[in-house]
């Protein structure tokens, strides 16, 4: 038996810069806050939900059951099960797909997806030699053996290892990868800065209009996205020095996402459950697809969404013209520009095994309330930021309006999904 999995709504905390207002908040704290805001908005205090799925990209080992622990700290019923899922920057969308699929299969009738990340409270680990010495010491049977083990510690062992976001197989950071892509696809500095400016202006306008009043709950005294700069401009952005791609590079701190802290959640249910519980229905989850590219073999790291979108649209018999709105996660301004270019590149698309180019979209339907450049990008949270935002926008546009989500992720992956207003 198959059910319609629908988006009822969402809640997130405002996103903020790394080591900013949430410097002392853990992933557990932020995810709990995002869940509690969702519970309050939809009157779910004490309710048992089918399942909660969330994840974090940077996770402490002690957070092995992060989501379940956050559920226990939240106002949800303690007998709500939960699991941790992680698919790099696609996590918040992948958890949504996971919950939606369970709903569609009738395994659960309601659930919450989400994601959280803190680059302030990132797990710091010890160096490998020190780890080996510590393990030896704790396994030692006598005090003398333990002392012998400790005697091997050298000062260089003590330097902590911060987690890095470099690709293990190429040794390149994500920005360095994207700089290669940016250059290969001929994306200009101005194109990127224009995307960044638009992101800030559109997000600022949406906040002004009260659009986020029922999507965001303040946290630790922060009431709005703290990275947002309403007064930024192409002129101001043009003054920034490149941070990726060498001195001639076009990618700056202004057109790349900032390291961010934040958490986001999505409330999902079967259409029947939503109606029975007098909950609003914004949109249904139509389909989703994940693709990966062979970046160790030289493919563009962040263009996974091209094959993913191509295969999903073909399966659905849809074209880009069928969409009222498109959300492309702004990992970098140039990811958006290259994704759009790649969608419209006949050879590139055929090379991926698709029937041809996907085509173009009207720029006015893209990221209409801004995206990650302005909002910030707490890795695992972003997908769960986009889903309710798009669902609400589609609902405003009327039943049948379709929206496409495209997210690139580390490891050469791309996650895409289609929503449709009910």
């Amino acid at each position: 038996m198959s059910h319609n999995a629908v988006v009822i709504g969402g809640n997130r905390i405002p996103f903020a810069k790394s080591n900013g207002p949430y410097a002392d908040a853990s992933n557990h704290d932020m995810l709990t806050a995002a869940l509690d805001g969702l519970v309050a908005r939809y009157g779910l205090s004490g309710a048992r939900m089918g399942e909660v799925a969330a994840g974090a990209v940077l996770k402490h080992p002690s957070d092995f059951n992060l989501t379940r622990e956050a559920v226990l700290s939240s106002a949800l019923a303690a007998n709500t099960p939960a699991c941790d899922l992680q698919q790099a920057c696609g996590t918040g969308l992948e958890t949504t797909v996971y919950i939606a699929n369970k709903i569609a299969l009738g395994q659960i009738d309601s659930g919450i997806s989400g994601g959280v990340d803190s680059t302030s409270d990132a797990p710091i680990t010890v160096s490998d030699p020190l780890r080996r010495i510590l393990l030896k010491a704790s396994a030692a049977r006598s005090a003398a053996d333990r002392m012998k083990a400790f005697a091997q510690v050298r000062p260089r062992h003590l330097a902590p290892k911060a987690p890095s976001v470099t690709e293990p197989r190429t040794g390149l950071s994500m920005g360095e990868h994207q700089a290669l892509t940016t250059e290969a696809w001929g994306i200009t500095r101005e194109e990127q800065d224009t995307i960044a400016e638009a992101s800030h202006h559109k997000l600022a306008q949406a906040w002004e209009d009260g659009f986020f009043d029922d999507l965001v709950t303040p946290y630790l005294g922060v009431a709005r996205d703290a990275i947002l700069r309403p007064d930024t401009s192409v002129e101001k952005l043009a003054k920034l020095k490149p941070v990726f791609g060498g001195p001639q590079g076009t990618m700056t701190a202004g057109n790349s996402t900032a390291l961010s802290d934040g958490a986001a959640t999505v409330l999902l249910a079967s259409e029947e459950w939503a109606k029975e519980h007098n909950q609003p229905i914004l949109a249904r989850i139509v389909d989703a697809e994940v693709a990966a590219v062979d970046h160790p073999g030289g493919a563009d790291l962040l263009l996974g969404p091209v094959a993913a979108a191509g295969r999903m649209l073909a399966r659905q018999g849809l074209t880009l013209d069928d969409f009222a709105l498109v959300e492309i996660h702004e990992a970098f301004a140039s990811t958006v520009a290259t994704t759009l270019k790649a969608w419209n590149d006949e050879d590139y698309c055929r090379g991926l095994g698709l029937d041809g180019a996907l085509g173009t979209i009207d720029p006015s339907i893209l990221n209409v309330t801004g995206s990650s450049l302005a909002a910030g990008h707490p890795f695992a949270a972003t997908g769960a930021r986009i889903v309710p935002t798009l669902a609400k926008l589609l609902q405003e546009r009327g039943p049948g309006s379709r929206g496409l989500i495209s997210m690139c992720a580390a490891g050469g992956q791309g996650v895409v999904a289609i929503l449709e207003a009910v």
């Binding site: 805001g37 309050a40 009157g43 709950t217 009431a223 609003p280």
Partner: protein, 448 residues
């Protein structure tokens, strides 16, 4: 806490202040609790309204001790309350009977005990009117003379007010819920309502909107109406969302981040109610702000923001919720409760804008109540005096201590005292109470 406040509240500080005549304020009886001593039933004439109501309330009553004129007989042990049925009072000479009932009772009443006088509001002839008005002076004075947290209340009734009509009011006045309502008089009219019991969860299955619910008095209103069974829709401005969510989750309600001054605020609220599909029993307009300045320094911005939030916004919201075409509007038989302020009723230096808005709330309640009577919607307000909240906690200590002590109960009220009064007004059983402004002020020295 300032150094002054710390010294004052420390043990030696308290000993000194006690010697100086500043007594520790009495601890008030609160909640759904009855007086512990006997409830004495006295009458002037042979009206049976009070006896019938006390019977419905399931309260055993005892005979009064009546003062014979010069001697002063006592009750032997402390009494819990004296309830006087003065519905047959018509002459000045009958007031002597009231004195004779009150004298032993005031002398023998327990801490947080109750003196309650029930009398007819409409009178035949000049003398009856004078005698009735005399009760008002007596009530206020007795309230001032009572000690140990005991209070006095005067309830006006109509000729055809029944025990059903009076039930929730007498229950409220006797119970600890009315702890900080002192020296007040309000009216219980007559309706077709038939209830014969005081229930503990009168709002069960009903939805109530509370504005300004993120903190202070509003948060407490949410808790008390939820305790009394209501499903709460808690409203506050988006920046207060974190606390609002905590309150909503605590009471099992829902949170709406909404500025009530928004043009579409009424429509947003109605849409949520319609979505929930359970109708709307009541709305409590608690959200309020102050922008204090002497009138000579009050500019348009200060004036308008206060009148917008405290008065105009709730009027616009009411209009939407009362429109029969609104899906998710207020049910017939529903409740509207405003929050005025003693500053509004009495005037307060530096608060022209606030006083205007809060007196306006009283005016609105009186005007709306008669217009909505045919739909059995009641409209009332509470007027808090000095209530201990985050807001009043910012007043400098000495001034705060003066405010606290300038009422008959020698202390500030608590948010729960305001909330209890509001929940009594929201009670479906309180159908006969409409167009009233009840002060929750411990009989503040200032004000009407």
């Amino acid at each position: 806490m300032s150094i002054l406040e710390k010294t004052f509240t420390s043990a030696p500080g308290r000993a000194i202040s006690r010697k100086a005549g500043l007594k520790d304020p009495p601890r008030l009886r609160r909640g759904r609790t009855w007086p512990s001593g006997a409830i004495i039933h006295g009458t002037i004439g042979d009206g049976s309204l009070v006896a019938d109501t006390l019977h419905l309330l399931g309260r055993a009553v005892e005979e009064p001790v009546v003062d014979a004129g010069t001697d002063a007989p006592g009750y032997g042990q402390k009494i819990g309350a004296l309830v006087v049925d003065a519905t047959e009072l018509t002459s000045i000479s009958q007031l002597e009977r009231l004195r004779a009932l009150l004298r032993p009772a005031v002398r023998g009443i327990e801490r947080s005990g109750r003196i309650i006088i029930v009398a007819r509001e409409d009178h035949d002839g000049w003398e009856a009117a004078a005698a009735a008005r005399a009760l008002d002076g007596i009530n206020r004075t007795v309230a001032k003379e009572l000690r140990g947290g005991a209070t006095s209340t005067l309830v006006w009734v109509a000729g055809d007010t029944t025990a059903s009509d009076l039930l929730t009011t007498l229950g409220f006045a006797l119970q600890g819920r009315s702890a900080f309502v002192d020296g007040q008089a309000w009216k219980v009219a007559s309706t077709a309502t038939k209830i014969d019991d005081l229930v503990t969860a009168p709002l069960a299955g009903r939805t109530v909107i509370v504005t300004g619910a993120a903190r202070g008095i509003g948060a407490q209103i949410a808790r008390v109406v939820a305790r009394d069974g209501a499903e709460v829709i808690a409203v506050d401005i988006p920046p207060a969302g974190e606390q609002l969510a905590a309150v909503a989750n605590e009471v099992g309600g829902i949170a709406i981040q909404l500025d009530i001054t928004q043009a579409d605020a009424g429509a947003v609220l109605a849409q949520h109610v319609a979505q929930r599909g359970r109708g709307l029993h009541g709305i409590v307009h608690n959200a309020g702000i102050t922008r204090d300045k002497m009138l000579v320094n009050t500019d348009t911005a200060r004036w308008e923001s206060v009148l917008e939030v405290n008065l105009a916004a709730q009027m616009r919201i009411n209009e939407v919720l009362l429109d029969p075409d609104t899906d998710g509007g207020l049910d017939d038989g529903g409740r509207i409760v405003g929050v005025a302020s003693t500053s509004g009723l009495a005037g307060n230096k530096g608060q022209t804008n606030y006083a205007a808005s809060k007196a306006g709330v009283a005016g609105l309640v009186i005007a709306m109540s008669s217009d909505l009577a045919s739909r059995e919607i009641t409209v009332n307000a509470v007027a808090p005096g000095f209530i201990e909240t985050e807001m009043t906690g910012k007043i400098p200590f000495v001034q705060r201590e003066i405010f606290r002590r300038s009422n008959s109960l020698d202390q500030g009220g608590r948010p729960v005292d305001v909330a209890e009064t509001i929940s009594y007004l929201l009670d479906p059983g309180s159908q006969a109470v409409t167009g009233q402004v009840i002060r929750v002020c411990g009989q503040n020295l200032v004000g009407a």
